[in-house]
């Protein structure tokens, strides 16, 4: 077996040193009845060629998003990731390192995390950010828990236009840990901020709203923040498309206390939904209630600047049952990919990329809106918007897939059984979509819808 360096000769030498006859003797503490003496019923070892062939065959059964015109977003976005990103994250010193528990020999990872935290804070317009979470949805769930800790209240209000996976990740915790969770109905024509404001009272710990929302709408959230703050509650803003921050007023400038986001758009492939990278930022005064790892600046014994994991007294390995969160692992390597992509883009690249996404989406919306029976429902958006089709969107998407076009996400898949959404399609357009892709979408929709 190519991954195992011990030879049979080594094994017998080692057993002799230990004073055992066979490896099986080392498993003497296992109840006899539970100890297998032959391998379980699974295939035997295979060489690299055979594994590559078998998995290659399975991969070929999928239609990769890049092989056809694709307009799917809804929480994961196909962007161009520069070759440099994947080359750098595969350096063994990054790829095969552990969580930086020994900072003297983990300065690479730590400095990256410090830079990452800064980049995330700048993008979201917030004071501080942590070293990442599993994904955007789990960031949102942790934000709800944090708001409960900060306000010592137990009631979260969510906009109906919050991505259902984010809503449900919070909802599961609400049900399991016993806090109140009030979600509204989805509204494809725009979030009802006034209705949200009307729900806020003195028991509310936070109101959580998506920006741009699940139907693509961008709305000024300042009035919502003001209402929340007046009631002693927090405003949590969730962003599923972080690339939008290159073009939009960030949550921090609209009064967000906690801003969470999915960071996949920078540096990370779609990966069929995971691994992605959750971003988590907040106001400085809330820092000590934040979940997850934090990297901080310090000096070494000779006064040289260095970085360490810090404020770990919040964390499970120190606080155990009293920790702010049970989280241990983050998305280190995905955060590195995010950070490298951000560094390559820089100020001009991040804003330029956002402008390009927005212009292409704006173009697509105009052309779709001009089609008979198709209405764009999102007047103000970044790179994703909702359209109403003359037919059920799920049927249209299936028929388009049969013609090798991934036309978008039917709203009925995200909100099954909700009235009025059957014909609604979510369409995302990024810099990877060409004019030919858009032509293909228009032509396929014209044929089907």
């Amino acid at each position: 077996m190519r991954y195992l360096p011990l030879t049979d000769h080594d094994r017998s030498d080692m057993l002799a040193t230990i004073g055992a006859k066979a490896i099986e003797d080392l498993f003497v503490d296992v109840p006899n009845a539970a100890l297998l003496d032959t391998p379980v019923d699974l295939p035997k070892a295979q060489g690299e060629m055979a594994v590559e062939r078998a998995l290659g065959r399975i991969a070929a059964k999928n239609v990769s998003a890049g092989s056809v015109p694709s307009f799917i977003g809804a929480g994961a976005y196909r962007h161009h990731v520069p070759a440099t990103v994947d080359y750098l994250i595969q350096r063994g010193e990054f790829l095969t390192a552990y969580t930086p528990y020994q900072p003297e020999i983990a300065q690479g990872t730590l400095q990256v995390l410090f830079e990452f935290q800064t980049q995330v804070a700048l993008l979201l317009g917030m004071d501080v950010a942590n070293a990442s979470m599993y994904d955007g949805a789990t960031s949102a769930a942790e934000a709800a828990l944090m708001a409960n800790r900060v306000t010592r209240r137990e009631s979260i209000i969510a906009s109906g236009n919050l991505h259902p996976h984010y809503r449900d990740s919070i909802g599961t915790l609400a049900e399991q840990t016993g806090f109140g969770f009030d979600t509204g109905a989805p509204s494809p024509t725009g979030p009802d901020i006034d209705a949200l404001i009307a729900k806020i009272d003195k028991t509310t710990s936070a109101v959580i709203v998506q920006y741009p929302d699940a139907f693509g709408h961008i709305t000024d959230l300042t009035p919502l923040a003001d209402a929340a703050h007046a009631a002693g509650a927090l405003m949590i803003v969730a962003t599923t498309e972080i690339a939008s921050m290159g073009a939009l007023t960030p949550p921090g400038e609209m009064g967000a206390d906690i801003a969470v986001a999915e960071g996949q758009s920078f540096g990370n492939p779609l990966n069929f939904g995971g691994p992605h990278v959750g971003l988590f930022a907040c106001r400085e005064k809330l820092t000590r209630q934040m979940p997850g790892r934090l990297c901080g600046e310090t000096v070494d014994a000779e006064g040289v600047r260095g970085f360490v994991l810090t404020l770990s007294t919040r964390e499970q390995h120190i606080r155990r049952a009293k920790a702010t969160s049970n989280i241990c692992t983050n998305s280190g390597l995905c955060a590195l990919a995010f950070s490298i992509h951000m560094s390559l883009l820089g100020e001009a690249g991040v804003t330029g990329l956002a402008a390009l996404n927005h212009a292409r989406a704006s173009q697509a919306a105009e052309r779709l809106n001009a089609m008979d029976g198709v209405d764009v429902l999102t007047p103000a958006f970044f790179n994703e918007f909702a359209v109403r089709l003359p037919k059920p969107a799920a049927t249209v998407v299936e028929a388009a897939a049969a013609k090798d076009v991934l036309a978008g996400v039917p709203a009925s898949r995200l909100w099954p059984g909700v009235d009025g959404l059957e014909n609604v399609l979510l369409v995302a357009v990024t810099e990877t979509n060409t004019d030919e892709d858009l032509d293909a979408l228009i032509s396929v929709l014209g044929e089907i819808a």
Partner: protein, 525 residues
């Protein structure tokens, strides 16, 4: 012949490092201090060439960004150099032996990386129609099959994003099952050994359970009598790591499982140490109801400096109906499908806990790893891991102190700091001296049940020569400590990219991000 005349072929004299002159650049050959990316900014440059945006009306209205973000600007070569230099300040498995107990730092095969990057897996959108992602669902079903057979457990939930998330998943299923029985108000107590990973009590507490600590016996196992005395009608279950965090197998595991079941509770097994027994022992045969598997430990998906991980959970029949959404269903004949709603078979599911369908990139890597090893190779791998740990224990126990050293250990060897008594050297000092010797330290001060713990997990990835060299080094250090060479330890590390870092200062006045100098100066006023 090259002109070698008069050229010295050996150094004139060995330079004493302390008297070596400072370099002008501050670098020491390959060791180069690298400023923050924000301090490297080269305004006007860019590392990505983008096409011009087409003319189209703006739909941003009043929400268009007004101010600059404040991001640094660099060209591609500058970015490559920045991260390459940073990488060189890191220790990874590729660098050397990484005996971090409980963390399982084994070799990360590059084939797995290549497989995960196939466009058919990496460039796949999670919301594509299921008709276009049949291969992805097939991979997920295969991973479930391998994990099910290896654990002897009937059901597998793939969504959890890492080990602690898996614990949360398992405990939520237990809580749901108890509630379905109408005992939710009554069963509020979870038992866990004092040696448990911190995530265990944190997870139970998060769900509103009270955590009741079970003491260890003198052999590093659960004290069966103390455990049985804690059982009662208010107990929801036990969270137990096996092999446990002292690196030994819980010999009374069957009795513990039977007793918790008889008391109406469930057995949650923390599967962080599954790598010690994979292919040899099926947790299902031990009475486990739920167990998470860290794919980034047992099945070698890379740790990546702290993630991403993946923590699928295997369930017994009793807990299977409560597994989180989505469920992957179907087979090669009928086609594969995704069940994303709590209805039909999944009506009792406790719901969703993460976006989309799980850590697909990790599933591909783990499957490549399992296929490469096969059932025979996995059995050999766990055997070699246990053999290597026992070999280190045998080579070190006369100079270090093994608190539960009577019988064999499993995949990790636990030492305490008794052998350092009176030397003025602590476990931390000892660990930092290992850094100077070119090793990543073992896990320190965990588990909490032994004083100054040192938990050494060599894994199956080390050759005998590497193990011998490591053992020789630790023997040397133990002898130096006892011989009174304390300077070697308290000054360590001397040769790492940084000397010891001031963690107190970092926590007292946290600096968690870079700020431009102007802003920093303003804040100081």
């Amino acid at each position: 012949m090259m002109n070698n005349e008069g050229r010295p072929t050996r150094p004139a004299a060995a330079n004493d490092a302390s008297s070596a002159p400072d370099t002008f650049s501050g670098a020491r050959a390959l060791e180069q201090h690298e400023p923050l990316i924000f301090e490297r900014s080269n305004p006007g440059t860019v590392g990505v060439d983008l096409p011009d945006a087409p003319d189209a009306p703006s739909r941003l209205g009043t929400l268009a960004r007004k101010g600059a973000l404040g991001l640094p600007e660099l060209s591609e070569p500058q970015v490559v150099r920045h991260y390459t230099r940073l990488s060189r300040m890191n220790y990874g498995i590729d660098t050397g032996l990484f005996p971090l107990g409980s963390c399982t730092m084994k070799h990360n095969p590059r084939l797995n990386e290549r497989m995960a990057r196939l466009p058919g897996f990496a460039d796949l959108h999670p919301m594509q129609p299921v008709s276009t992602v049949q291969g992805a669902l097939e991979v997920m079903q295969q991973v479930k099959h391998w994990l099910s057979v290896l654990t002897g457990m009937p059901a597998v939930a793939l969504p959890p994003g890492a080990g602690a998330h898996g614990e949360l998943c398992g405990m939520m299923a237990i809580k749901s099952a108890i509630e379905a029985r109408g005992e939710g108000d009554r069963r509020r107590r979870v038992l866990a050994p004092a040696s448990a990973h911190g995530t265990n009590p944190a997870t139970a507490a998060m769900l509103g359970f009270t955590v009741d600590e079970i003491p260890e016996n003198e052999r590093g196992r659960v004290d069966l009598k103390a455990f049985e005395e804690k059982l009662g009608p208010d107990v929801a279950g036990i969270m137990l790591t096996n092999p446990n965090t002292c690196g030994v197998f819980e010999t009374d595991i069957k009795a513990i499982a039977d007793a918790i079941h008889a008391a109406g509770g469930y057995f949650y097994c923390d599967g962080a140490n599954f790598n010690a027994i994979v292919g040899r022992v099926r947790p299902g045969d031990l009475g486990v109801d739920a167990m998470h598997i860290n794919l980034h430990k047992t099945f070698s998906t890379p740790h990546g400096g702290g993630g991403p991980g993946s923590g699928p959970v295997v369930f017994s029949e009793a807990l299977a109906p409560f597994a989180p959404l989505p469920w992957v269903t179907g087979d090669g004949d009928s086609g594969y499908d995704l069940k994303e709603e709590a209805s039909g078979d999944a009506a009792e599911s406790f719901g969703r806990m993460k976006g989309f369908h799980g850590q697909m990139g990790m599933f591909v890597r783990a499957l490549a790893y399992m296929m490469s090893h096969g059932s025979d190779g996995l059995m050999q791998a766990s055997g070699d891991a246990v053999l290597s740990a026992n070999y280190l224990k045998a080579r070190l126990e006369d100079v270090m102190s093994a608190p539960y050293g009577d019988g064999p250990c499993m995949h990790e060897a636990l030492f305490d700091d008794t052998f350092l008594n009176g030397t003025g050297v602590t476990t931390l000092d000892f660990a930092k001296a290992m850094i100077d010797e070119g090793y990543h330290p073992m896990t320190m001060y965990f588990p909490l049940v032994v004083h100054g713990a040192m938990l050494i997990e060599p894994t199956e990835s080390e050759s005998k020569e590497a193990l011998d060299r490591f053992a020789d080094t630790l023997r040397f250090l133990a002898e130096q400590a006892k011989a009174g060479d304390t300077e070697r330890f308290i000054q360590a590390p001397r040769y790492a990219p940084r000397r010891r870092l001031d963690e107190t200062q970092a926590a007292r006045k946290p600096i968690l991000r870079w700020k431009p100098e102007a802003a920093t100066a303003e804040a100081a006023e």
